[in-house]
Amino acid sequence: MVHTRHNPAGRVAYYASSAALTVVFLIPIIWTAYSSVHGRQAAGGHQGWGVANYHRLADYGLGLTAYLRNTAVVSLVAVLVTVTTTTFGGYAMARFSFRGKNVLFLVTLAILMVPYTTILIPLYVLLGWIQLQNSLLGLGLVLAMFQLPFGLFMMRNSFEAVPIELEEAALIDGCTPTSALRHVLLRAVAPGMVTVALFSFLASWNEFVAPLIFLTDGSKFTLPLALFNLQSGNLGSVDFGALQSGVVAAAVPSVAVFLLLQRYYVRGFTAGALKG
């Protein structure tokens, strides 16, 4: 459908509708950011600009910094575990043959088939047995597990795309498989690793159900969970100003990382990983 390209009426219609849609998509974000710093609540009683909402948010519960730190710890664990295990796993799947390889590959991909929320109840019990209930580490590991199918698929494809001659040359030059991986292959698969890290980060930073179920101690709460408490805690009277600044605080890191690494995100799509 390229024949409208030189048609001025078509061009006007195209840009008019796209602009209208842009307004629809941006208004909720802009309004939230705006009212977090403008209005009577924001300015501490009078009309105008102010950061009172952020002050109240900073003092809510254990304080914004504690919740940001918890969320960062969980995300860091999830990203590190996802990237390391799927990089080694993808290398093994692409270049080595060993017993149980196909079974492991299929079982890992089966994580995609199993609806995530249905295994949270047994995971809750299991984490209790291994002393990882109510723990940021345990939560990070579970979130990493849910990222394994995408990560493994992405990394296996990345390694398979590297010419095998590159690896053979390194081995002939006396590299062990491990040092070939470190010195030669990692550079070639780095874009795939960034994609895996990005997907893992976006998912774990914003996760809600898993922390809701696994974290029982208020000092361990992640930001989305703390914001939910802020919204539902005081029956009837919600501090909308603080809530909106909380939404901004939660959204800024994840939107910023996404914008920065956008082309790696699109890569994840075009790699066909989602066609699984």
Partner: protein, 307 residues
């Protein structure tokens, strides 16, 4: 489904069969070692919980205290009126969401697939909500619904409509939620559809135009049939996501006005009724139903590929 490729041949040995097999053994050990950390996580945090879920479903398993086998009693939860109401509501929500979301995403994808100046900015803007978490999105819309001077309520006033109680009834809560989900996911599905659109060979369009096909004819008889696998993928993701809806209703209504979904019901059984056994039983059934749905969709996909 992605099929695992055949293992690449082990690096060829250069001097005789014994060297080769020693090398192959060493490489097999190295491969096992590399895959081990991932295998441990899959086994401990996925395979074991799956088995545990089935085991829990045939046990009386209180949140605190000892458990003991109780046969299929937990599966009586499936006949509970609260559960049945949750099933009906979840199905209704799934149908409405999937229809609305697919149509909007398809429109966006058609609009955004042409190469025009500025199209990259539009695509980024439409996708941007997907970078905001679902819980944050829900809290954001909670403020929009509840503030009289939010853009939403201002627009209602400007249009001289009656004030809307966005979350006050079953229907209004359902539609409000569909609205926020569409805002959050339309760009995401647009991106999926666009990868499908871009994989269609341009010469097919040219041939259709040479044959005198119009815009709508091309859309109906060329684009849609060729896009079927991508549309099926979008359907699987949207249906699965909607059947498992939790965050949006848990935060917006807490399940009031009969807006509890199946997963909210699981949560209530587990942590309000403190009966993990019943929660596990519902989980087992939900899992089986979803695996059947996914399997059916994927089988349909594979049939398309074979054609």
């Amino acid at each position: 489904m992605v099929s695992s490729t055949v293992a690449r041949p082990v690096l060829p040995g250069r001097s005789g069969p014994t060297r080769t097999s020693a090398l192959a053994r060493r490489r097999s050990r190295t491969g096992t070692l590399y895959v081990l950390p991932m295998a441990v996580i899959v086994a401990v945090l996925f395979v074991v919980p799956l088995g545990l879920m089935v085991w829990m479903s045939v046990n009386h398993w209180p949140l605190l205290g000892a458990s003991k086998p109780n046969g299929v009693q937990n599966y009586r939860a499936l006949a509970d009126p609260l559960f049945l109401r949750a099933v009906v509501f979840t199905l209704k929500y799934t149908v409405v969401t999937t229809v609305v979301l697919s149509l909007v995403a398809f429109g966006l994808a058609l609009l955004m697939q042409e190469r025009r100046p500025g199209v990259g900015i539009f695509r980024t803007v439409f996708f941007l909500p997907a970078a905001v978490g679902l819980a944050s999105t829900t809290l954001l819309f909670y403020s929009m619904f509840n503030n009289t001077d939010s853009p939403l309520n201002t627009a209602i006033r400007v249009l001289h409509l009656d004030a809307v109680d966005w979350l006050g009834t079953n229907t209004s809560a359902l539609l409000s939620t569909v609205g926020l989900i569409t805002w959050r996911f339309a760009g995401f599905y647009m991106l999926i559809l666009m990868t499908g659109l871009q994989s269609i060979d341009q010469t097919v369009y040219e041939a259709a135009r040479t044959d005198g096909a119009g815009r709508w004819q091309i859309l109906r008889h060329v684009t849609l049939p060729l896009l079927r696998p991508t549309i099926a993928l979008m359907m699987v993701l949207s249906v699965t996501g909607s059947l498992l809806a939790f965050d949006q209703f848990f935060i917006l209504t807490g399940g009031r006005h009969n807006t509890a979904t199946v997963v909210i019901d699981v949560y209530r059984e587990a942590f309000l009724s403190q009966d993990l056994g019943r929660a596990a039983a519902i989980s087992v059934v939900t899992l089986v139903v979803l695996v059947v749905i996914n399997g059916g969709q994927l089988a349909a996909l594979r049939r398309d590929d074979a054609r």
